[in-house]
Symmetry: C2
Subunit: 333 residues, 2 copies
């Protein structure tokens, strides 16, 4: 069976451009392996909730533009933002654009906000400058209220959108997961475990599938013909204050989750220096590293979602429902 399938994958599919069947495997028995403790779901929930942790007693002021909430700020930050120029004001516990800007169009708002954010960068409040604008929106399908430097959007508590790709391979009957190790030089989460490819969406309402193809090529050397096998499968969302990594202090994210089965003959390779390397791991090893907190927190959320969808976590396990519920804790819109 295995020989036949491998033959199909390598000879027929990759050479001739055919698309072989993707197999979806799951643990077939309800037996728990020795590596899986009885409170596995509770331990995983603990990791998932690192992305849902707002901290103790953190008050947040809503950022309202055009009648919609598009962000939320800690009070001290809201004051700093309001004091840094004329773009923002605080009005009865609500952060708003300056009244004149409310009536302006998006480019004018974006320009005024940029002046404010520049000042905050000079003051050391905004760090990790990326020189990339991200839209500030109420939802994925809404028109941007304005755009803001990527390093600043978490400070506003603005929603972010990303794509994450679960890469896996079948070793005979066993599903194994491709895990990346982030470069030790990364500003955020250096040395932690990551997906084969992931990326922030630079705009909303676009075509995430195309970005998946690009990220797979840029981050893992996956050619487009193979990358096209990646298919959307889920969405995770979370909202919290992350304690680690400059520019990632507030998270209010929606991640489009894709899966790609890679043929056993293919090995991802670091292309853009974002990761040190890739390793094919057993599900038990992935679970152990998840529990140990070795994965970048939002990668842990997407990976747990993958393991739920593939049947490696089961309703018979204590805490299964709470874990599944936590995967879409944030505003999924």
């Amino acid at each position: 069976m295995r020989t036949c399938y491998s033959l199909l994958l390598t000879a027929a599919a990759l050479t001739a451009g055919l698309k072989p069947p993707q197999r979806s495997k799951a643990i077939r028995t309800t037996a728990r392996s020795a590596a899986q403790p009885a409170d596995l779901c509770a331990q995983l929930l603990n990791e998932v909730n690192k992305c849902n942790d707002l901290g103790d007693g953190v008050a947040l002021l809503p950022l309202i533009v055009d009648g919609h909430k598009v962000g939320e700020l800690r009070p001290e930050l809201a004051k700093a933002v309001a004091d840094a120029g004329t773009a923002f004001r605080i009005d009865a516990g609500v952060v708003r654009l300056d009244a004149a800007l409310e009536a302006a169009d998006e480019p004018a708002r974006t320009e005024a906000v940029a002046t404010c954010i520049d000042r905050l960068a000079k003051d050391g409040v905004v760090t990790g400058w990326r020189d990339e604008l991200l839209p500030v929106v109420a939802s994925y399908s809404a028109a941007p209220a304005f755009r803001v430097e990527r390093a600043a959007y978490p400070l506003l508590g603005a929603k972010g959108y990303g794509v994450h790709v679960n890469g896996y391979t079948f070793d005979g009957d066993e599903l194994r997961v491709w895990v990346a190790t982030r470069a030790s030089t990364k500003a955020t989460y250096p040395g932690m475990l990551d997906h084969v490819a992931a990326g922030q969406l630079a705009d909303v309402g676009g075509r995430p599938g195309e970005q998946v193809l690009a990220e797979l090529a840029e981050e893992a050397g996956v050619p487009d013909e193979l990358g096209k096998r990646a298919a959307p499968a889920s969405v995770v969302s979370y909202r919290g204050v992350a304690g680690e990594g400059k520019g990632e202090r507030v998270t209010n994210e929606v991640l489009f989750c894709y899966d790609i089965e890679l043929p056993s003959s293919f090995t991802p390779r670091p292309v853009d220096g974002e990761v040190e390397g890739f390793e094919l791991r057993s599900v038990d090893a992935v679970l152990a590293d998840l529990v140990r907190g070795r994965f970048k927190p939002n990668v842990a959320v997407v990976t747990v979602d993958f393991l739920v969808r593939r049947g490696f976590l089961r309703p018979e396990m204590d805490g299964y429902l709470a874990l599944v519920a936590a995967l879409r804790s944030g505003d999924c819109s």
Copy 2:
């Protein structure tokens, strides 16, 4: 390729008991087929939200036992329940067990509640008697506050748990879905479309996977050896007031969703008279019937979740996120 795979499925796997690979297929292009309208996700959301519809201006009184909310009742029903014997009382807008029952154990509570429900049945308030007790719980892992006749638990707004199985087959490269037609004699949703197998869980904290095996055998004639391929993949939850079907007026449900790939040589067959027959449908046909409201409402929710997980609905489609969010609208605990 197809010949090789079919051979594996039928000759090797079914005869010799081997487990062939399950293939997970998805639409590989972002092209929308002619059968899929631009507002497909919005139309599907409309169907999903049939299960999330609480109606206009429906006030609900919480049912609190042991300090936890275990149900919710419409005011007129709460009054009927409180008036039917001594089991329940209304205290400042909250429905509670009688004080003596609060201190009693579960069997004593269940007995007292049964007397109350018997009266309501005699009065015609509880209809469609099933002669089966269901647990009333705050969550799946909680001990039952008491047990109640199945026909009455929706009237209390108690949480219900079920298993639903998405059955599918590959016809070459094309994923096709097995759809059942409910018997015209069913008390609820006669003649509507349904899963290959589904069932209410008679208890909580149990082993849903074992019930999946039993339902597959009882409802669709799937032998255990084949049924074991069913794997848990997701959870949907919803909360609303369904307008159709006696005994299904209040829904506050969590459904464990399983997937099973059936070999192309296997045809499900009606066993227990619950369904008239099974039909293998294309995804486009399933989408068309979903939009037309031909599926039993909660089956529609699970089927949409399946199509999301298999990549037939994509982030590029308008309304994708709202649809995904709606699949876990209820209390998933």
